[in-house]
């Protein structure tokens, strides 16, 4: 079966704007984040046309907020979204909500050193490693491909990077180097990924 998968990151949040680490903690979309979601919805509507699709989302609040706006723009019923815990952002465990990476390195230098040596397998106390996130999103990607058809997916920066890395067979370093746009989204089909840019009004 051939599947087409649209990977969409949530719009800008108040913590994104100030560089605070969210993980599975949460802050609301900003005004700009709201407009990004609407612009992504417009571009997605043009992409989808009349093709039937399934809509998936992370159940965290910022992705629910983004998905609700996209649903209204594309004319889809929010209540039919499949909310899937596997699409949640990587959690930094005890460090979710921390002020920023610099503050983390300053306050926990030993952890920063371990992270530097093996970033892919590092996890914060009670948190997840990139490998752990890959282990939970891989079955979902496999399910979409087995099912075929079109899937619209609203998720998070790191979770989406890892999905893209799987799709393109990227190395750990290449996966880390991917971007996390909020004014663009990705279209996975066959073994390639296209980027669809959007413009804010």
């Amino acid at each position: 079966m051939s599947a087409t998968i649209y990977l969409i990151r949530h719009g800008e949040t108040t913590w994104n704007r100030i560089g605070r680490l969210q993980g599975q903690a949460d802050s609301p979309l900003t005004l700009k984040g709201t407009k990004q979601a609407a612009a992504v919805g417009e571009a997605l509507r043009a992409e989808l046309g009349d093709t039937p699709f399934r809509f998936w989302s992370s159940p965290l609040r910022r992705t629910c907020q983004t998905a609700a706006i996209i649903c209204d723009v594309i004319g889809h019923d929010y209540e039919t979204i499949s909310f899937d815990d596997r699409l949640k952002e990587i959690t930094l465990g005890d460090r979710d909500g921390y002020a920023g990476w610099r503050e983390l390195a300053r306050d926990f230098p030993e952890e920063a050193e371990i992270r530097r040596k093996d970033p892919w397998n590092f996890h914060h106390p009670n948190g997840e490693s990139s490998q752990m996130v890959q282990d939970r999103v891989r079955p979902l990607l496999d399910e979409w491909k087995a099912e075929g058809g079109v899937h619209v997916v609203v998720s998070h920066g790191v979770a989406i990077k890892i999905l893209r890395g799987l799709q393109l067979n990227l190395t750990e370093a290449e996966t880390f180097a991917l971007d996390r746009p909020q004014e663009a989204f990705h279209k996975l089909a066959a073994d390639r990924i296209d980027t669809i840019e959007v413009t804010l009004p």
Binding site: T14, S27, P28, L31, A67, I69, E79
Partner: protein, 200 residues
């Protein structure tokens, strides 16, 4: 009981469950596209009303829909969203196990209790929920302890705001429980116990 004012009392924008006519209580759904635009329009009207003055304090209910609305309003009036104070006393009345139901489901499964509620809306306590009287207690406590600075901005909820306005104005429950719950504008409450609707 009211401080000097003015206090601007806003309700969150339209949510998915508002549109589906479900009781939200303290459960939560995100804003619709229309709701996000209402929040932006209320923020624009509030900026006009403040006329360059910064709010002395910006309070919001900690529920998702009010945090989302408050963040948009804060951006419109150039207020730091991190400086918003989230206060549990501003949360919506919870209908307990009824939160999330619509009127048809309530009538089908809880008709006797629903009828008793209609007979005494002020004192009726839904199963595991709150009466309006209980909400009145926490809202009264919030108002009594407001800082004396102004202007104050409060982003909260439909039923909650009816109680808030009633207490501010010194109305009787049978009167204030019938007040409106607009999402296309908000109320300015002044120290003399009056209110003015500001259209967004």
């Amino acid at each position: 009981m009211s401080p000097s004012g003015p206090l601007y009392l806003l309700r969150h924008g339209e949510t998915i469950w508002n549109r589906a006519k479900r009781l939200q209580g303290q459960r939560d759904t995100p804003l619709t596209l229309n709701g996000a635009r209402q929040a932006e329009a209320m923020g624009k009207a509030l900026a006009r009303e403040l006329n360059g003055a910064a709010p002395a304090v910006f309070f919001a209910s900690p529920l998702g829909r009010t945090k989302q609305t408050a963040a948009i309003v804060a951006d419109m009036i150039q207020h730091d969203p991190e400086a918003i104070i989230h206060d549990d006393r501003l949360m919506e009345v919870t209908f307990g196990i009824w939160d999330g139901l619509n009127i048809e489901e309530l009538r089908a499964d809880h008709n006797d209790a629903w009828q008793s509620r209609l007979e005494d809306r002020w004192r009726f306590v839904p199963p595991s929920g709150e009466s309006y009287q209980m909400v009145g207690k926490r809202v009264g406590d919030f108002i009594d302890n407001l800082p004396s600075t102004s202007p104050i901005v409060v982003v909260a909820h439909g039923a909650h705001n009816r109680v808030f306005r009633g207490l501010w104005r010194g109305l009787e429950p049978e009167v204030f429980l019938g007040l409106d719950e607009p999402q296309d504008g908000f109320y300015r409450l002044d120290g003399d116990g009056t209110e003015t609707f500001i259209q967004a």
